[in-house]
Amino acid sequence: MEKRVLVIEDEPNISEALRFILTRDGWKVDVSADGKSMLGVLQADPPDLLILDLMLPDLSGFDILKVLRAGDGTRELPVLMLTAKGQAADRVEAERLGVTRFMTKPFANAEVIAAVREMTAP
C-alpha cells in the first residue's frame, strides 16, 4: 500500500520541492500551509509520516508536536521537523517534546529521503 506523508510548510516553494522529491520516492504527499487546520485530520486519520516546519503562522511546530504526542493515535507518529532558524536550543526543545528527527534548512534532498526511509523502516 502506498505510504502517505503530510507536509506542513508555509513556504510554497519549499513544500513544492518536498512534494517533488517525496513523490519521486514513491510517497503519496499531502501539503498544508498551516498546522491548525490539520490537527483534526492528523488525529482522525494519521499519515505514515509527518514533515513539520517549525516557524508557522498561528500554531508553531512545537505546539503541534506537543498536541500530537499527547494524543493516543499519534504518540508514535514519526515526525521530521525542519527549521530555518538553526539554533541549538530549538533542537534541544524539539527532542524534549519527542521529535523523531530534526533537520535544519537548507537540506540535501538525499538526506531528507534517507531520513524518511529510516524513520518508516519496519
Partner: protein, 909 residues
C-alpha cells in the same frame, strides 16, 4: 631730581623687593628656608607697625604736639615687654587652630560663627580704609615735595592723581606678591622677607637723616638738647589723660590691627620667636623714634614758616642740599607705606574671601545643588578682587577727605576702629563665659559708636554728617552730638570716641555673655582656647597601675572586636614572657593598649576610657572636651561616609540599569540574528532543493525545468533584496546615510512613486485618488529617499488591499512648516493588536512568501523618515489601512541630526 627719575627709582626698588620675595618663596618651597624662619626676620616683619605715619607723621606729630608721639611707641613696647604672655597665647592658639586672620580667630572661638567673621571683616575694612588712605597721602605728598621739576609738573602737582597711580601700582604689586599661590595656613614667606628688607631700609633712612641732623646740622647731642629746650611750646606739656588714652590705644592697636595679627600670628612659624621679638621689637621702636624730636626741632628752626612738618624727614635734607640723603629718606617712606599696604590688603582680602564671598558662594551653589568643584581659582580671584577693593576704598577715603588731615590724626581714627575687637579677643583668650551673642552685640555697638563719633565726622562736616548734626546733635538732640555724646564735653574727639565706644562695647559684651547661653560648640572652642596650655599632649604615661587585666580585656574586646582584642592581649602577654591572655598591667602595656584603642576611638577617648578603668587618673574637663571634639570629628567622618555610600549605591543603580539595557540589547540582537538567519535560509532552502532536483532528475519536462529554474531565479532575487534591505537599514539606523537635500515639487515625487509601484501585481486594477492642488508645494528634502517611502507604502497597498475595487486616496496638508501626506486605502486595514508592530523589523503580518519582502520595508521607511527629520505613523480608524508621512517642508541639517538621539532613545526602550 626729575619726576620720571623718581618713578624709575621706585620701580627699581619694587623690582628688587620682588626678586627678594621670589627668592624667599622658592627657598621656602624647597625647604631650605631656615634663615627665613629666624627670629630676626620675624621681628623685622613686625615693624610693619611703623608705617608712613611713623616715618613722616611722627615728626609732624612731634612738631604739633611735642612728646605725645611717644605714646604710639609706648603702647606696643609695653605689650611686647610686659604682656607678651598674651601674644604667646594668641600665637599658640592661632597656630594650633590654623587661624587665617583676626576675623577667623574671633569667629572660631565663638563657635565658628560666620556672623562674627562678617562683622569683624566689615569693621576691619572700615578701619583699614583711612589707614591705607594715609599711606597713599604720604606717598603722594612725598612725590610732590620731592619734585621741583617743571617737566613732570602736570602729574607732580596733582597729589590725587599720584595717589591714584600709587594705589593701582600697590594693588598690582600686592596681587603679584600675595596671591600667587594658595596656602592653607595663609603664610607668605616671600612677603614677610620683603617686609623685613623694607624694615631695614626705613630704619636706616630715618637713622641716617637723624645722624645728619644731630651731627652735621647741629653740633652734637648737647646742642640738640639745648635747641629742643629752646623750642619748647606751651602744648608740649604732658596731658596725663590724653597720654593714658593714647598709650592704651596704641597698645590695643598692636594686638588688634589686622596687619599686625597677620605678621604676629598668622605668619609666625615658631612661638619661640616671640621671646626674641619681646625685646628686639621694642628696640626697633626705640631706634626708629630716637631722632624724631631732633628732626622736628631742626625742621621748625630752619624750614620756612608754613612748611608741612609731616614732610620734614624729606624736606630738610632737600632744603640743605643733601639730595642723596633725601632719596634714601624718600625710599624709607616709600618702604614704610608699601609694607603697610601690602600686608594690610593681604590680611583684609583673606578675610573678605574666607568670611564673606566663599560662604556666600557655597550657599548659592548648595541652593542650586551644584558640586562645589575646584575652589582654588575662585578663591584666588576673590583675593585679587578684594585687594583691589580694599585699595580702592582707601583711595576713595583719601579723595573724599581731601587728603588734608594730619597723618597722625588719620591713623588714630583707624586705631579706635580696630580697638573695638579687643573685648571679644580678650574674652576669647581668657574668659570661658564669653559668648557669641555678647561678642557680636559688643562689636556692633562699639563699631556703631566709632562710626558715629569718629569715622563719619572725619570726612568733615557736610559729607556724611551735616554741620547741623555736628553742632546740634542727631534729630536736634544735643546729647547726641557726635563729639559730645551724652553731654560729655571735656574730652577731645579721639578720646571721647575711644571712651564711649570701648566702654559700651565692654558693657554690652559682658552683659550679653552673662545673659546668653552658649552652644556646645562654643563651649568646646572656649575651653580649647582659654586652656590652650593645660591640654597635655598625647605622651601621657601611666604610673600607678591598679586595674586587673581581666577588667581591661572586655573593654578592649568591645572596641577592637573579640578575637582581635584577645590576640592583642596574648601578644602583649607573650612580650612579657607569659602564657595566656592576661599580661601584667605595666606602664608599657597600658601605653600600648591606649595606642591600640586610639586607632579606633581617637586618642582622647582612649585615654579617658583607660583612665576611668585603671582608676589612677581623674578625667578632666579638658579630656572630656577633647573627647567631645573627637566625637564630633568621628560623626562628621561618618556623615561623609554615609554620603559616600549613598553615592556608591547611586552609581551601582546606574550600573545595574546600564547592564539591564545591555542585556536587553543583547537579547534584541540575538532575536535579530535569528530572524536574519531564518530569512536567509528560507530562500536558500528552495534554491538548494530545486537545483539538486534539476541536477539528478533526468526525466523532466521542459515546462517543469523552466518552472523550477524560475523558482530558483525568484528566490535568488529575494535573497539579494533582503541583503540590500539589511544594508540599507543598517546605514539608516546608524545615521551614516548621505542625504542628498535639494528643492523638488511634491507632486513630481508622488507621480514617480505611483509609476514605480505599478509593477507590483500589475494586472490588478488600482485606483488612486489625488488632490492636485496642495500637492503643488515645493519642498526641500532628499527626494530619492522620500520617493522610496512612498513606493513602499503604495506597493504594500497594492499587495495587501483585498477590496474588490481597490483604491487609494492621497491627501496632502501643510501645517507649521511640516508637510503631512496621508495614504488611505479601502482594504481591511491592520488589526489593532498589530498596529504597534508593523514598523518593527521582520514583522510581516502574513508569513506567506507572496508578499515578497522580508518584513523590513516599513522599518526602513521609519528610519528614512527619522533621517529626514519627520516620521511615519499608522492612522487608525480611517476605513482601510492609513499611513501618515510627515516631514519638514524645508529640511535643514539640524533636523536631520536630531535623528541620532532619537534612534538611541528608541534602542533604550
Amino acid at each position: 631730581m626729575s619726576f620720571n627719575m623718581l618713578v624709575l627709582t621706585c620701580l627699581a626698588y619694587v623690582i628688587l623687593l620682588f626678586v627678594v620675595a621670589s627668592a624667599a618663596e622658592r627657598a621656602a618651597s624647597e625647604g631650605r628656608a631656615g634663615w627665613l624662619r629666624s627670629p630676626v626676620i620675624y621681628t623685622l616683619s613686625l615693624s610693619v607697625y611703623c608705617t608712613a605715619w611713623t616715618f613722616y607723621g611722627a615728626v609732624g606729630f612731634a612738631a604739633r604736639s611735642g612728646l605725645e608721639f611717644m605714646t604710639i611707641y609706648l603702647g606696643p613696647t609695653l605689650v611686647f615687654v610686659g604682656w607678651w604672655v598674651l601674644l604667646r597665647k594668641l600665637v599658640r592658639i592661632g597656630r594650633e587652630n590654623r587661624v587665617t586672620s583676626i576675623a577667623d580667630m574671633i569667629s572660631a572661638r565663638y563657635g565658628k560663627s560666620n556672623l562674627l567673621g562678617v562683622i569683624v571683616t566689615l569693621l576691619c575694612i572700615a578701619a583699614g580704609a583711612p589707614y591705607i588712605a594715609l599711606q597713599l597721602q604720604s606717598i603722594a605728598q612725598s612725590f610732590t615735595v620731592f619734585v621741583s621739576d617743571p617737566e613732570g609738573a602736570s602729574l607732580a602737582g596733582n597729589p590725587t592723581l599720584i595717589a591714584f597711580w600709587v594705589a593701582i601700582g600697590l594693588a598690582f604689586f600686592t596681587i603679584v606678591f600675595g596671591t600667587r599661590t594658595l596656602d592653607a595656613n595663609e603664610q607668605h614667606p616671600g612677603v614677610v622677607t620683603a617686609i623685613a628688607v623694607e624694615a631695614v631700609v626705613k630704619l636706616a633712612a630715618l637713622l641716617a637723616v637723624g645722624v645728619f641732623v644731630v651731627w652735621f646740622v647741629a653740633a652734637g647731642p648737647s646742642d640738640i638738647l639745648t635747641r629742643i629746650d629752646a623750642q619748647a611750646l606751651p602744648e608740649w606739656e604732658i596731658q596725663p589723660g590724653r597720654w593714658t588714652g593714647l598709650i592704651l590705644l596704641s597698645a590695643i592697636a598692636i594686638i588688634c590691627l589686622p596687619r599686625m595679627f597677620q605678621v604676629t600670628v598668622v605668619e609666625n612659624t615658631d612661638d619661640q620667636h616671640l621671646a626674641t621679638a619681646s625685646w628686639a621689637f621694642p628696640l626697633y621702636l626705640f631706634l626708629i623714634s630716637l631722632f624724631v624730636l631732633p628732626i622736628a626741632v631742626i625742621g621748625m628752626e630752619l624750614m620756612p614758616a608754613g612748611s608741612n612738618p609731616d614732610m620734614f624727614v624729606l624736606t630738610l635734607p632737600l632744603y640743605l642740599g643733601q639730595d642723596g640723603l633725601a632719596l634714601l629718606s624718600f625710599l624709607g617712606g616709600f618702604s614704610a607705606a608699601t609694607s603697610m599696604v601690602i600686608v594690610a590688603s593681604l590680611a583684609l582680602a583673606t578675610m573678605v574671601s574666607n568670611h564673606i564671598v566663599v560662604p556666600l558662594w557655597l550657599k548659592v551653589r548648595a541652593a542650586r545643588n551644584l558640586d562645589s568643584g575646584d575652589m582654588r581659582l575662585l578663591v584666588l580671584s576673590v583675593r585679587r578682587l578684594s585687594i583691589s577693593l580694599v585699595l580702592g576704598l582707601g583711595y576713595l577715603y583719601y579723595v573724599i577727605t581731601g587728603g588734608s588731615g594730619a597723618l597722625a590724626a588719620i591713623g588714630l581714627i583707624a586705631f579706635v576702629g580696630v580697638a573695638q575687637m579687643l573685648p571679644a579677643l580678650l574674652g576669647a583668650l581668657f574668659w570661658r563665659g564669653a559668648s557669641r551673642t555678647g561678642a557680636a552685640l559688643g562689636l556692633v555697638i562699639g563699631m556703631g559708636l566709632w562710626f558715629y563719633t569718629l569715622f563719619l565726622p572725619s570726612f568733615g562736616p557736610g559729607v556724611f554728617l551735616s554741620a547741623q548734626v555736628m553742632e546740634g546733635g542727631l534729630f536736634g538732640q544735643s546729647w547726641l552730638r557726635p563729639y559730645s555724646l551724652f553731654g560729655l564735653t571735656t574730652l577731645d574727639p579721639l578720646l571721647h570716641a575711644l571712651f564711649w565706644s570701648l566702654l559700651l562695647n565692654v558693657l554690652v559684651f559682658c552683659l550679653g555673655s552673662f545673659l546668653s547661653f552658649p552652644s556646645p560648640m562654643e563651649r568646646v572652642q572656649g575651653a580649647l582656647f582659654v586652656n590652650i596650655y593645660d591640654r597635655t599632649g598625647p605622651a601621657r604615661s601611666w604610673t600607678r597601675p591598679v586595674a586587673e587585666a581581666e577588667d581591661l580585656l572586655p573593654i578592649a574586646q568591645r572596641i577592637l572586636g573579640v578575637s582581635e582584642g584577645q590576640n592583642f592581649f596574648r601578644a602583649q602577654a607573650a612580650v612579657q614572657g607569659k602564657q595566656g591572655f592576661l599580661p601584667d598591667i605595666t606602664a608599657e602595656f597600658l601605653e600600648a593598649l591606649e595606642l591600640k584603642l586610639s586607632g579606633s576611638v581617637g586618642a582622647a577617648t582612649a585615654h579617658a576610657m583607660l583612665a576611668q578603668s585603671v582608676g589612677t587618673a581623674v578625667v578632666s574637663v579638658e579630656d572630656l572636651m577633647a573627647v567631645a571634639s573627637e566625637t564630633a570629628q568621628i560623626m562628621e567622618y561618618s556623615a561623609q561616609l554615609e554620603a559616600k555610600s549613598e553615592e556608591l549605591s547611586r552609581t551601582a543603580r546606574k550600573l545595574r540599569d546600564a547592564n539591564e539595557m545591555l542585556q536587553k540589547l543583547s537579547v534584541q540582537k540575538d532575536a535579530f540574528l535569528s530572524q536574519i538567519s531564518h530569512e536567509l535560509r528560507t530562500p536558500m532552502t528552495s534554491i538548494r532543493a530545486f537545483s539538486e532536483i534539476m541536477m539528478d532528475s533526468d526525466a523532466m519536462s521542459p515546462e517543469e525545468r523552466t518552472h523550477f529554474a524560475q523558482i530558483i531565479h525568484d528566490e535568488s532575487i529575494r535573497l539579494t533584496r533582503l541583503l540590500d534591505d539589511l544594508l540599507d537599514l543598517s546605514v539608516l539606523e546608524h545615521g551614516q546615510v548621505q542625504l542628498n537635500i535639494g528643492p523638488v515639487q511634491l507632486r513630481e515625487l508622488l507621480d514617480k512613486a505611483i509609476r514605480s509601484s505599478e509593477s507590483v501585481q500589475a494586472s490588478r486594477k488600482f485606483r488612486i485618488l489625488r488632490s492636485r492642488d496642495p500637492e503643488g508645494i515645493e519642498i526641500v528634502t532628499d527626494a530619492g529617499r522620500l520617493t522610496q517611502v512612498f513606493i513602499n507604502i503604495l506597493s504594500n497597498a497594492r499587495k495587501y488591499c483585498i477590496a474588490d475595487d481597490p483604491q487609494m486616496q492621497i491627501k496632502v496638508r501643510e501645517r507649521k512648516g511640516m508637510v503631512e501626506v496621508d495614504f488611505i486605502d479601502n482594504g481591511a486595514g491592520i488589526p489593532r493588536d498589530k498596529q504597534a508592530l508593523i514598523f518593527e523589523k521582520f514583522s510581516r503580518l502574513t508569513d506567506s512568501m507572496q508578499a515578497g519582502g522580508a518584513g523590513l520595508g516599513l522599518a526602513i521607511c521609519r528610519e528614512i523618515m527619522h533621517n529626514l527629520g519627520g516620521d511615519i505613523a499608522y492612522v487608525p480608524g480611517q476605513g482601510g489601512a492609513a499611513f501618515r508621512v510627515s516631514f519638514p517642508r524645508v529640511l535643514t541639517p539640524r533636523d536631520a541630526s536630531r535623528k541620532a538621539a532619537r534612534s538611541q532613545a528608541e534602542a533604550a526602550e
